[in-house]
């Protein structure tokens, strides 16, 4: 599956969509497929300051607990509460209904530490 072209990516298989001074974060299709059926997502609380590439939560499949890293730093301004009742949305629609949280950017230059869709594609094919 091709990576959406309007997103940036991390080596830890998260995506970022930057719009103005806010970024939406999720995990990639490759990540959700590798994890398998997702049953629980633990996200940072609204208002929390998080640092780029910091460990900020977990994504759990039936079998395993995986750490969640944020691809970008800032203040958490919204989390996807719908995932409490329907964590499988991350499997079904990782770039849409399965988004995880939104951050008010601390430093827009952090974007330069992220991967383009083409560069991420190379990682996700391994």
């Amino acid at each position: 599956m091709a990576q959406p072209a309007d997103l940036l990516y991390s080596k830890e298989h998260e995506w970022v969509k930057v719009e103005g001074d806010t970024a939406t974060v999720g995990i990639t299709d490759y990540a959700q497929n590798s994890l398998g059926d997702i049953v629980y997502v633990e996200l940072p609380k609204v208002g929390k300051q998080i640092d780029q590439f910091g460990n900020i939560g977990v994504v759990e499949s039936v079998k395993a607990v995986s750490d969640l890293f944020t691809p970008i730093g800032g203040e958490v301004v919204e989390v996807n509460n719908g995932l409490d009742a329907d964590p499988a949305a991350v499997n079904r629609d990782p770039y849409g209904a399965g988004w995880l949280f939104k951050v008010k950017l601390k430093d827009a230059s952090e974007k330069s530490n992220l991967l383009s869709p083409d560069d991420y594609e190379k990682i996700a094919q391994d």
């Binding site: 398998g36 059926d37 049953v39 629980y40 633990e42 977990v58 759990e60 499949s61 039936v62 079998k63 607990v65 409490d84």
Partner: protein, 368 residues
């Protein structure tokens, strides 16, 4: 993790690769953890039927006039009283009352048994049997040579019957028969590890791929799906069945693990008997209980369990349970005073305590 070159492959490895299964190292073999997905496969077994490759499990043949008497000195359940073609769950203990392995005996003939042991324990158990060998007992190790294919789920009789020459509907639970599957010799047993009706087919590794692929070719349209070890673990946990290494270990024996129903203290002597008798007498041992979590966060192996502020034990297995209203269930080894059904305990998950209630096992029981 072991390098893949060191891993063994079952006779069905090629079928798993063709089907696009996700393979993981398990008990020294490269085994399918999932095909289409754990939840989908779980649903197939609960409502239709699933097909499992369990060829990693150890199959030993025990033959000779003294097998029954000998095996009864090594195990907690009765071997000698088994009827021909009967199957019986049994546990081999160490002298401290812990479990070497939990197993199933199949009495194929008066003086011939098959013993099925856990894959991860196959080498240990083969050594244990040989170290304790007696006159009039001959052993043969078929581990990795014979295959084991299980079909599990409410449609098992319907989907398997057209392809075997045994009357499946009349076979009792925990009995077996020697017959043929697609014309190939098979020991067919009404046993399983999912909490559903089903059968296990012990066949030659040479015949396993054709039986496996024929079953999927003929019965996929009727609901049969290949299933991996991931779904099997959720199914067995819901059904309250122990998994060696979790609810039973060299330290956790059958009294603590909840297998007292299989413990025949009427047998005068067997390895571990003295310690088990003392445990029963004192009744103060930590024990395995079932937990249902109140919240959405799953309990996982190793998480600490509390009664109030006091640490009383740890989680041994945990999963989201589709057949228990999608709640998170777990087993935990806890102190006696924390083990009463209805008690509210707390499981510490990443530094936060989450409520859990002690419940009776099994979590799930199929409608008869």
């Amino acid at each position: 993790m072991t390098a893949s070159t060191d891993l063994r492959r079952t006779a069905l490895y090629g079928e798993h690769v063709k089907a696009g299964a996700r393979l993981v190292p398990f008990a020294g073999f490269e085994m399918p953890v999932q095909y289409a997905g754990i939840l989908k496969e779980h649903d197939a077994v609960r409502h239709r039927a699933g097909l499992f490759d369990l060829s990693h499990m150890g199959q030993f043949m025990l033959e000779g006039p003294n097998v029954a008497q000998w095996a009864d000195t090594l195990t907690i359940n009765a071997v000698g009283t088994m009827k021909p073609m009967q199957a019986r769950y049994n546990i081999f203990c160490n002298p401290q009352g812990g479990a070497h392995d939990d197993t199933i005996f199949y009495r194929l003939e008066n003086d011939r048994w098959m013993l099925v042991v856990n894959g991860a324990n196959a080498d240990k158990m083969w050594d244990h049997l040989n170290a304790n060998l007696a006159e009039g007992v001959r052993l043969e190790n078929l581990h990795g040579r014979n295959a084991l294919i299980a079909i599990q789920g409410p449609k098992s009789v319907e989907l398997l019957q057209p392809h075997v020459d045994i009357d499946l509907a009349s076979m009792k639970y925990y009995f077996c028969a020697q017959g043929n599957a697609y014309g190939r010799p098979a020991i067919i047993a009404r046993t399983g590890y999912t909490g559903e009706d089903g059968f296990e087919l012990f066949v030659s590794g040479d015949h396993a791929p054709e039986i496996w692929s024929n079953l999927l070719r003929d019965e996929s349209a009727n609901g049969l799906e290949p299933c991996g070890l991931g779904a099997r673990d959720v199914l067995r946990l819901e059904a309250g069945m122990p998994l060696y290494g979790h609810e039973l270990t060299e330290e956790i024996g059958p009294v603590q693990g909840g297998q007292q129903w299989a413990l025949k203290m009427s047998k005068p002597e067997f390895i571990g008997r003295n310690v088990l008798a003392e445990q029963l007498e004192r009744d103060d041992y930590p024990r395995i209980v079932g937990l249902v979590m109140a919240g959405r966060a799953p309990a996982r192996e190793g998480y600490k369990v509390f009664l109030g502020d006091r640490e009383v034990g740890e989680v041994r297995s945990g999963s989201m349970a589709p057949s228990v209203e999608n709640k998170n269930i777990a087993t935990a080894l806890v102190a006696k005073d924390a083990a009463t059904v209805g008690t509210t305990l707390a499981v510490e998950i990443r530094g936060t305590k989450h409520d859990a209630t002690v419940v009776n096992l099994p979590f799930y029981k199929r409608a008869k």
